[in-house]
Symmetry: C2
Subunit: 319 residues, 2 copies
């Protein structure tokens, strides 16, 4: 019986660099799946990375993230940029898979060879997004993307993560999605570089924009710091999208001039290396038989026979 | 110079068990801050825990989580239960603090000695909520709470976490917060034990309820599995809140009868012990000088001189 062997990593990287979509897809699968080839892929990509502008897009469900991403990609394409899109879905802890196909999200660009679109499931484990998304960004950079857009679902923990991933973070809001306290709760005031009130043709858009501006003005910022603009868009018609892209580009220019780009990318690398190192330790420990111990200790904690710290110490010291 | 010494842990636990709010607050601060006394506190609490019904409440910003929590607490109090509330705010990665005081959220119950309310900041580090919230739950259990309500902000990663924390997870929606695809995206279909469409006096509430029921019906469930009910509420007036509490109680009874409670609590203990073990490894590694190495390696990754996996391996092997 013959078995067709998988293409070698250097060959895949070479083909991805020529823009071959299947090679890009295969590389992302390799890095997303924590495959044995992961370290080889990352090493082969290294010299081709670090060039794309990484734009994070976030906001609560219902604000129009996918529509806005779609419209922004159209504007970038009109400017002849090669674009990669990573749509990060929180996957169910039960099903383990992303719920939406790529075509549902990004119908307008699904057939454009200069737009590479990929849905990624944020795995249930700690730091799933933190680990696999930057690797997928590197694949898209190596494939020659000028811009990589990372769209994340939801607010909360995943927003903090997107702010850590992106050079420029775009936060979307919609009119009537909640008052000032809600915005403050969601922690969005600290993470945005650019804000857009989408669905600006709906009632309350001016009020939302005004409130957001007031809240942003109240935040203390050092001299020379970036002051996040607040725009209005109607992504479904494209209204305001060119102006939004212009602000995103202005932020990219500011990052380069101010030296903030180097600072952000170093901080990003720090989180990434730390997350990988922790995961590596965890894997080695599971490989050394820690998994079976964990089951036994968890049952003791659930029964009230041990407290979780004592159990964790036993696990670590027994590893 | 004399220095007033901190009260000993056994004394604090004894006072918390008598319902003294200041002792409860101090213990939560000790477990939340990862203080040196943490292990001693957890050990002292062990035999007094595992009795409360832990109810998680989640939903997107704007659905009325705080108002619903407030109304549910009133209904529990009318039934003479002692209630603990943990409101988990995603804290800014920059400010590090929760933005809202307890009184803003829970004005109605702030002075009721049988209701203990605490805002917790979800720390920026990986698994912050996963680590400190279960510990705070244990403090409230030891203080004699019959029910502990954990209210989390936002959807996405933090929802997965609340589903892991709670015996019963209540998912709140509001009319017009997005169509079916949005609900599926947010991953809420798998995590709820009870659903409520809040603001049911607004247009579209019936449609949202109907759509959600249809989607929940489509999910495959094994024989004898719990079928999540979908209710309608107007938390601001209290409408539907008694019925909601009745469903939450019915779920608690089902958990006990079906044996699912043991399964959930063991799974919860497993995640918790694992998170603590990973954090412990990380702390030991930082204490061994890993932090300085990390800075140096992060700079190399940002400059493109090393890939993140090679850097992480260097970090782990050098630790």
């Amino acid at each position: 019986m013959t078995r067709r062997s998988a293409p070698a990593v250097p060959d895949l990287v070479a083909r991805a660099r020529q823009g071959e979509a299947a090679a890009v897809a295969r590389l992302i699968t390799l890095v997303e799946a924590d495959s044995p080839a992961l370290r080889e892929v990352m090493s082969a990509l290294r010299e081709h990375t670090g060039r794309a502008h990484v734009v994070g897009i976030t906001g609560a469900p219902g604000v129009g993230k996918s529509t806005s991403t779609n419209a922004l990609v159209a504007a970038m394409r009109a400017d002849d940029r090669r674009v990669g899109v990573l749509a990060v879905d929180p996957s169910s802890p039960f099903s383990g898979g992303a719920l939406l196909g790529d075509r549902v999200r990004m119908g307008d660009h699904a057939l454009d060879p200069e737009v590479y679109i990929r849905s990624m499931g944020a795995r249930g484990h700690l730091g799933g997004l933190a680990r696999s998304t930057p690797q997928a960004v590197r694949v898209l950079e190596a494939a020659g993307c000028d811009v990589v857009v990372v769209e994340t679902v939801g607010v909360g923990q995943s927003e903090v993560e997107v702010a850590g991933l992106a050079d420029t973070t775009l936060v979307l809001l919609a009119p009537g999605m909640g008052d000032g306290i809600q915005a403050a709760k969601a922690g969005i005031l600290e993470i945005g570089d650019v804000y857009a009130v989408n669905k600006a043709d709906r009632e309350g858009a001016d009020r939302t924009r005004r409130e957001l501006r007031t809240m942003l003005t109240m935040a203390e910022r050092p001299e020379g710091a970036w002051r996040p603009p607040v725009l209005q868009t109607v992504a479904s018609t494209g209204e305001g999208i060119d102006a939004l892209l212009a602000e995103i580009d202005r932020h990219a220019a500011w990052l380069a001039e101010s030296g903030e780009m180097v600072r952000r990318r170093t901080a990003r690398a720090r989180s990434e290396v730390e997350a990988i190192a922790l995961a590596t330790m965890s894997e080695r420990w599971a490989a050394a038989g820690g998994g079976a111990d964990l089951d036994r200790l968890a049952a003791r904690v659930a029964d009230g026979e041990a407290d979780p710290y004592a159990a964790a110490d036993e696990l670590v010291d027994g590893a």
